[in-house]
């Protein structure tokens, strides 16, 4: 357990609306080790972004973390989010066109971040800002440019430079390439991955793209309706999924190989339940081909640190 940088322990995020109390995250636990890339995958609305917001203490009201603890470098940070934000854990968002303040030069935004976190002089900060831009492949002389003069991919590079500037140990990347052209996606992912590997920075990479998960991550967590369905070594989980939902995700991922032409894709029938219409028991059971009696009655816990599925109750998973 010692090499865990971050431990999310049984957190729930709830908010009230006029229909009652809804759980956006339900009893979620996961760990991130030093230097590793943890993927988080799941359909839109599964709670991926919410997990990132909870870790940073940036849940928008009326939502709030109603139970659980977040441990970082061996300390509970439930009440210390401000001290870790940016400096220790940073986050980048999906839409690079919206992530930079349109009215301020990128240099000003970089300097502000560096001067806030690092105890350096202004000229040293400028030096670092230039170096930061260079590292993400942007001409350092563009320090005085405004965000709108950059393309989407370039802006995401600036965003990465900003997130890395305070030298955090963990970066939460919330679908960082979803809004970009396919050809740019790979560049940005590679850049992020390489820069973090060099620095030993861990990444939580949120995505709904199984291909990205396969190519980029060391471990992967699968979220379904605010709960963890499965977590484990990426290769293990993708080649030998234990949760029927993961199995469905893997089977429904398009691939390009000689056998795949004109074959129909597998589809998981039905849709993920809305938060205000959560079924009893396992949230996935109404769509599950393998559901047994128990699945509609009791919510499964995560068995063998791997998957939350009653089918595994009596099966020891040997990795």
């Amino acid at each position: 357990m010692d090499d865990n940088l971050l431990e999310v322990r049984n957190i729930s995020v709830t908010f009230k609306n006029r229909y009652g109390t809804l759980k956006a995250l339900d009893n979620l636990s996961l760990n991130v080790k030093k230097g590793e890339i943890l993927g988080l995958v799941g359909e839109s609305g599964a709670g991926k972004s919410m997990t990132g917001a909870a870790i940073l203490g940036l849940i928008d009201p009326p939502g709030h973390m109603s139970s659980g603890e977040i441990w970082y470098k061996g300390k509970c940070i439930n009440d210390a989010h401000e001290a870790i934000r940016g400096r220790e854990i940073s986050m980048i968002f999906q839409d690079p066109l919206m992530s930079l303040n349109p009215l301020r030069r990128i240099g000003d935004q970089l300097l502000e971040t560096i001067l806030t976190h690092m105890n350096v002089t202004k000229s040293e900060a400028i030096k670092r800002a230039r170096k930061g831009l260079e590292e993400v492949g942007i001409d350092p002389n563009r320090l005085n440019s405004y965000p709108h003069t950059f393309s989407g991919g370039m802006r995401q590079r600036v965003v990465i430079a900003l997130a890395l500037a305070p030298e955090p140990s963990l970066i939460i990347a919330d679908e960082p390439t979803t809004a970009l052209d396919v050809s740019v996606q790979a560049q940005i992912l590679d850049l992020l991955k390489n820069l973090c590997k060099e620095r030993g920075t861990s990444i939580i990479l949120v995505t709904h793209d199984m291909g990205v998960i396969a190519q980029t991550t060391d471990r992967v967590g699968v979220l379904y309706a605010g709960r963890l369905a499965e977590i484990g070594d990426t290769r293990e989980v993708l080649t030998n999924p234990k949760h029927p939902y993961t199995k469905g995700l893997v089977d429904s991922t398009p691939r390009i190989d000689a056998n795949s032409f004109y074959k129909e894709l597998y589809q998981i029938s039905g849709t993920m339940p809305k938060l205000d219409a959560m079924p009893n028991g396992c949230a996935f059971h109404p769509r599950c081909e393998f559901a047994i009696d128990k699945c509609s009655k009791e919510t499964p816990q995560v068995f063998s640190d791997r998957a939350a599925c009653w089918l595994l109750e009596n099966e020891a998973i040997v990795e």
Binding site: D60, N101, R104, Y146
Partner: protein, 325 residues
């Protein structure tokens, strides 16, 4: 950038021609200028001579450009009442209106923005909610009622402030200012509040909703995720983006402040152009009315132009784009 400025200037000049046309139409075709100037007992020959002298037989476009040409030299003819040049009448009244309008606008903008920011940052707080519900009163009460209530409370009951007039003014060249005497400043208080209250609530509510909107934007979330303090997030990131639309609206409101000054000036017998206009309407003093309309139109256009330029100064995206908005 220069292209935008020139285009805006071009648009402004076009609008000015239209305003001048309306003003001219009123001047020329509302009532009969000859009747107004000579009365009923003039002979036909006298009338014909005057019509010729005024150029009323000239083709329409010629009269229109003649009107504009004279207006450019501040020549709006003589008032039917008292026969003073209209431009002199307006010049003597303009400082009062401008000082009143500027004071109210300043009061409305500064307080509106500050309170708006406060209620946005402290959303849902007790004081913020109280301010919000009170502000509804500001929007819904008619101006004259606010004026009368203020007069009743502060002038009649408490006797703190005067209820009418400008107090003592100091003459600086042709400009008369009330800013330099105590009674002048005291006299400004109630009319400025009356005139500015509506704008104040408007700007406050606008600032609040814009700021709340901006605080939901990704760049604010990102600034927070980067660990900037809430002061940095609110004032370096959220506020400038909030102010762009607020400045536009506030600028445009300055125009309506001048226009709405008519009511306030009437309630407080404030000797400005608004009061002049009301009296002109009362006596069907067409030249004064037409000159007033032209003046307000020109003010609107100038203010619009300044707002557009401010907009350019604030928002780099507009500065770089050579095409339209």
């Amino acid at each position: 950038m220069l292209v935008i400025i020139f285009r805006r200037l071009g648009q402004s000049i076009l609008v000015l021609f239209i305003v001048a046309l309306i003003s001219f139409l009123i001047f020329r075709y509302v009532g009969n200028p000859v009747d107004n100037l000579m009365g009923q007992e003039a002979t036909l020959a006298q009338r014909a001579a005057l019509i010729e002298a005024l150029g009323l037989n000239d083709p329409f476009y010629k009269q229109y450009f003649n009107f504009i040409w004279k207006a450019l030299q501040f020549d709006f003819g003589n008032s039917y009442r008292g026969a003073l040049p209209v431009s002199e009448l307006i010049a003597s009244r303009l400082p009062a209106t401008i000082e009143l309008a500027v004071t109210s606008a300043f009061f409305a903008l500064v307080l509106g923005v500050i309170i708006g920011i406060y209620t946005a940052i402290n959303r849902g707080g007790y004081i913020a909610n109280l301010i919000l519900s009170t502000s509804l009163i500001g929007v819904s009460l008619p101006t004259f009622l606010i004026g009368v209530l203020l007069i009743w409370l502060f002038a009649v009951e408490l006797k703190w402030l005067p209820s009418f007039g400008r107090g003592d003014v100091v003459q600086l060249g042709w400009w008369s200012t009330g800013f330099l005497t105590i009674s002048g400043i005291k006299s400004l208080v109630l009319p400025s509040i009356t005139l500015g209250l509506y704008q104040l609530t408007l700007i406050m509510r606008l600032t609040r909703s814009e700021m709340l909107e901006v605080m939901r934007q990704d760049y604010v979330r990102f600034a927070k995720a980067l660990g900037l303090s809430s002061k940095q997030v609110n004032f370096n990131h959220a506020l400038p983006n909030t102010l762009v639309p607020v400045i536009t609206i506030a600028g445009l409101q300055l125009g309506s402040i001048v226009a709405f000054a008519i009511i306030t000036e009437t309630v407080f017998q404030w000797p400005g152009v608004g009061l002049l206009f009301i009296n002109a309407v009362y006596f069907v003093d067409i030249p004064v009315m037409s000159a007033y309309l032209l003046l307000v139109g020109v003010l609107f256009v100038i203010i619009n132009l300044i707002v557009d330029l401010l907009y350019l100064a604030i928002d780099p995206r507009l500065r770089d784009s050579n095409t339209s908005e």
